[in-house]
């Protein structure tokens, strides 16, 4: 909305013209109701005290998200290592991290989405050892990695590169325009596929390789 300038300027000794007054008043009122934006007001002109609750038309928070795809997950019983992805069940590729979360009643505008969790991965393959006499590091036996991506109604809105650290906090953040309506938000991960040496698998199976927990999705939806 562009700026507004004088429509009616009441002068001294002029009649108290209701039409002119209404023209000026309605123009300013219309501008305010039409959505004041940065063209009309200087920055910091509106303080926090003047911001009305609900300015974001939708906010969503989903917590307690963790690796829940049982088809690739090994229950590790009471061992110190956590339950997690296992190479006897996983051969690489993108997998759904947990069931997609559903939101509804969104309006045309912008979405801000954040996904947080902690992750653990067994960084090295089983053939690697730091002990004297162990196998030296090779291209094949180290550098497991994990990648993340977020899909909004099936469209990828964020995709990370590979992360190599053994423990890490993951914070993903994306802003993107959206259509109004309902939406499904899905988080996927990809873990390094099992390595082979001359056709023989290097990695052990029946040992957890990757897991995550403490997942949280924050969605802030706003008008434009």
């Amino acid at each position: 909305m562009s700026k507004r300038w004088t429509v009616f300027d009441p002068g001294s000794k002029n009649i108290v013209d209701v039409d002119g007054f209404n023209d000026e008043y309605n123009t300013q009122k219309g501008a305010l109701n039409g959505g004041v934006d940065r063209n009309n007001l200087p920055g910091e002109y509106i303080t926090r005290a003047q911001i009305k609750q609900g300015a974001f038309h939708k906010t969503h928070l989903f917590t307690g998200l963790l690796l829940s795809d049982e088809s690739i997950k090994l229950n590790n019983g009471g061992n110190l290592q956590p339950d997690g992805l296992d190479y006897s069940l996983y051969n690489g590729g993108w997998r759904r991290a947990f069931d997609p979360v559903q939101v509804s009643g969104l309006r045309d505008g912008m979405n801000h989405i954040e996904f947080n969790c902690w992750q653990w991965q067994y960084r090295f393959t089983s053939g690697f050892s730091l002990e004297p006499g162990g196998v030296l590091a090779t291209q094949e036996n180290h550098d497991h990695w994990v990648k993340w991506r977020i899909l909004y109604n099936g469209m990828i809105v964020l995709e990370t590169g590979a992360m190599y650290t053994q423990y890490d906090n993951v914070t993903l953040s994306a802003d993107f325009p959206m259509m109004g309506g309902d939406a499904s938000i899905e988080v996927q991960f990809a873990f390094a596929p099992p390595a082979y040496n001359d056709g023989d698998p290097v990695d052990v199976v029946d040992s957890p390789m990757f897991t995550f927990a403490g997942g949280q999705i924050l969605l802030l939806s706003r008008f434009r």
């Binding site: 909305m1 562009s2 700026k3 300038w5 004088t6 429509v7 009616f8 300027d9 009441p10 002068g11 001294s12 000794k13 002029n14 009649i15 108290v16 013209d17 209701v18 039409d19 007054f21 959505g35 934006d37 940065r38 063209n39 007001l41 200087p42 920055g43 910091e44 002109y45 596929p193 390595a195 082979y196 001359d198 056709g199 434009r224």
Partner: protein, 721 residues
């Protein structure tokens, strides 16, 4: 003897011809058309772009003339990017500064200040860019957003050079070592891939045939590269020249790396600002110059950034992409001195500049930086002169010339140019405007023309001069500086404003206004606008007329009007700096003086003489402010002023006015139609007119004259020498 009465309503616009129709006016200055009554309304003025009085003229305090101005509305008006130029600096106006005052941030500085006879900067939106050209400085491409701010100032402004100013330097390929482990050695690198085609390793199937060179033993492998840049508009630069030749022999039988293919390391040049990617092209394995293998280049890999200095190439010959662009597909920017631009059929059109004034260039569709070597034409000098501007309209591109007009038609690949006029031309490219339902209106040297029609389906393009009623005013135009004329159409005012240098001036000094609400009747649609210091002019998305001051400040310490202003209903003709107590403020000037002069009325018989007794002004009540008439006879220059009359109904109680109306007691009121009678005492005359000159509010709807025929008095004999 009974008086006779002639009533003239509705009123028309200005006609400077002789004789006039009774509804015409001899002069209408600083009036607009009242939308409620279609009468002439004096309530026009102008005000600061930022109307707050206490911020003086900030951020324009010490700026001189605003040479050019463009408001780029995006997001349906939610973002107005106001771009203007003053004193050789191109600015954008930041109206969201956290200090409360607007700020002007520099986009480009050290630019050439246009001479009074030169056209000013041209602004053309193209997708998410604003193309800025002035015929002297390198054309730039400004994207406005995003702009990163720190402490109220931009860290960097998203402004880029338009087109490719150079060919990328050739890439440099490192040599290939075939007998070393990981790592590099000087300008050689040794990396290999296994010939996995036969290795049968399922997990590595995805890199079959990866690597360069032959897997056979003792084969001489030879490759060359070229590189191109890709910028943020998707345009690809010309290809570089060929790299050095990289050559190696495949390992002999029985070696460690026998059967391996290899990986090359290629140094690639970083592109200019705005480059977002580099593309590497490569030959097939030319095997030491095998004459049966042509030196063709194929797409190899795209590096999606502008900072990596080298790339490792492991793309096998079978995995190469399509053939590289030809040498003529993209060339160095051919119009670096372009003055005028327009977007037509998705292409950016530019002129060749002052030294190449009859040449037109156009970009590839959707890529304002990418030019095929043959994307130009020369319209020839003939009688029409140089190109003076472009204007895209309907399904053709209007090519304005000094003494003619051509149009470009067709689509990319088949553009052609056709002359449509060799008599009408213009130097005033900023006067060209589309008026909805009318056509394209522009100011030529001899008047205002309208261009209508199209050339499809056997149609014709017609030119019609529409400024004949105001020829006398148009004739005041300074032809030498007419390139500085500016015009804009406002859908809010339903007016076309055109300001041009008059009376020898070097800057616009008078305006003519075409009132659409006056079209269609048996009258003229024109009025004149004076005292409005328009130097450059544009409109907002809502139709507000914003202009840059034609003079501005002489510098620090000269706190006169400067910067941007808006034509509005404010009862002020701008403002002036004043020191009020300790406060520096800008206070409103008095309203602009509005002048209405009736036509010369001859009562239908110029030979007879009459005595005018009264003029009745048909107007709206406005309050206690007074107006007076000045009446003239027989085209004499000196008039006689009547007494002042309040704009109240004579035979009713006065309507309440500001300053005396009491809130809560007196009702809101509204203007009413009334007649104010002015007595006239000037003897007999053959022709009569009256005039009003006022700074008070006035809406005039018509007028009437009561006169008495003066017996048998006729025009007397002419004087003998």
């Amino acid at each position: 003897m009974n008086g006779q009465r002639v009533e003239i309503t509705p009123l028309g616009g200005v006609s400077e011809s002789i004789p006039q129709k009774p509804s015409d006016a001899s002069r209408i200055t600083n009036f607009t058309v009242d939308k409620r009554t279609n009468g002439w309304d004096s309530r026009v003025g102008y005000e600061k772009y930022d109307p707050r009085p206490g911020n003086l003229w900030r951020p324009f305090d010490s700026m001189g003339r605003i040479d050019s101005l463009f408001i780029w509305s995006k997001h349906q008006g939610a973002q107005d990017w106001t771009v203007f130029e003053s004193g050789g600096t191109l600015y954008w106006l930041d109206s969201s500064s956290n200090t409360g005052d607007m700020r002007a941030h520099v986009i480009d500085s050290g630019r050439v200040i246009p001479a009074p006879s030169e056209p000013v900067t041209t602004y053309t939106p193209f997708g998410r860019f604003l193309i800025v050209t002035n015929g002297h400085d390198r054309p730039i491409k400004y994207s406005a957003w995003p702009v990163w701010m720190s402490g109220g100032s931009p860290i960097s402004v998203p402004s880029y050079t338009l087109g490719w100013s150079e060919i990328p330097p050739q890439p440099t390929v490192w040599g290939v070592e075939t007998q070393v482990n990981f790592g590099s050695s000087g300008q050689h690198v040794g990396m290999w891939t296994e010939n996995t085609l036969d290795a049968g390793i399922p997990a590595r199937d995805d890199i079959q045939e990866a690597g360069l060179g032959s897997a056979s033993v003792d084969v001489e492998n030879t490759y060359k590269y070229k590189v191109s840049w890709v910028n943020n508009a998707g345009a690809e630069s010309p290809l570089s020249s060929s790299s050095n030749v990289v050559s190696w022999d495949s390992p002999s039988a029985g070696g460690t790396y026998t059967g391996s293919r290899f990986i090359t390391k290629v140094e690639i040049p970083v592109g200019p600002s705005g480059t977002t990617a580099r593309r590497l092209y490569r030959t097939l394995n030319m095997k030491g110059g095998d004459p049966t293998i042509p030196e063709n280049y194929y797409f190899c890999v795209e590096v999606g950034n502008n900072y990596d200095e080298h790339v490792f190439d492991h793309v096998g010959d079978q995995a190469l992409g399509s053939l590289a662009p030809g040498l003529t597909d993209s060339v160095v920017f051919p119009a670096s001195a372009a003055r005028f631009t327009a977007v037509f059929k998705g292409c950016l059109f530019l002129d060749g500049g002052t030294s190449n004034g009859t040449k037109i260039y156009w970009s590839k569709p959707g890529k304002p930086d990418e030019f095929d070597v043959l994307n130009f034409m020369d319209v020839g000098m003939r009688d029409a002169g140089e190109i003076t501007g472009f204007y895209a309209h309907y399904n053709f591109l209007i090519v304005l010339r000094e003494r003619g007009i051509d149009v470009v038609r067709g689509t990319y690949g088949s553009f052609d140019v056709t002359p449509i006029s060799q008599t009408v031309g213009t130097r005033s490219k900023d006067s060209v405007t589309t008026i909805p339902d009318l056509g394209v209106v522009f100011l030529a040297q001899d008047g205002v023309y309208i261009m209508t029609g199209n050339m499809d389906a056997g149609g014709n393009i017609d030119f019609r001069k529409i400024s004949t009623p105001i020829n006398k005013t148009i004739k005041r135009m300074n032809i030498d500086t007419s390139a500085r004329a500016v015009a804009a159409y406002s859908q809010k005012w339903r007016e076309w404003h055109c300001y041009f240098p008059a009376d020898g001036s070097d800057r616009p000094s008078i305006g003519v206004v075409l009132h659409l609400d006056m079209l269609g009747g048996n009258t003229t649609p024109w009025s004149v606008r004076e005292d409005v210091p328009v130097g450059s002019l544009t409109t907002t998305i809502d139709g507000d007329l914003v202009f840059g001051h034609h003079t501005g400040s002489a510098g620090p310490g000269d706190p006169v009007e400067s910067g941007l202003f808006v034509i509005s209903n404010r009862r002020a003709c701008g403002g002036q700096y004043q020191l009020v107590g300790q406060d520096e403020v800008v206070v409103d000037n008095a309203p602009c003086t509005s002048v209405y002069q009736s036509s010369w009325l001859d009562f239908g018989d110029r030979s007879a003489r009459r005595r005018v007794n009264y003029v009745y002004l048909l107007c709206l009540t406005m309050g206690d402010n007074q107006i007076s008439l000045t009446h003239y006879k027989d085209r004499g220059p000196d008039g006689t002023q009547t007494v002042g009359m309040k704009l109240q109904r004579p035979d009713h109680i006065d309507q309440k006015v500001f300053d005396s109306a009491v809130v809560g007691e007196d009702p809101w009121d509204e203007s009413m139609l009334t007649q104010i009678r002015f007595p006239i005492d000037q003897g007999v005359c053959s022709e009569f007119k009256y005039g009003i000159e006022t700074i008070n509010d006035l809406v005039i709807l018509g007028w009437a004259i009561e006169f008495t025929p003066s017996g048998g008095t006729k025009v007397i004999s002419g004087k003998r020498a």
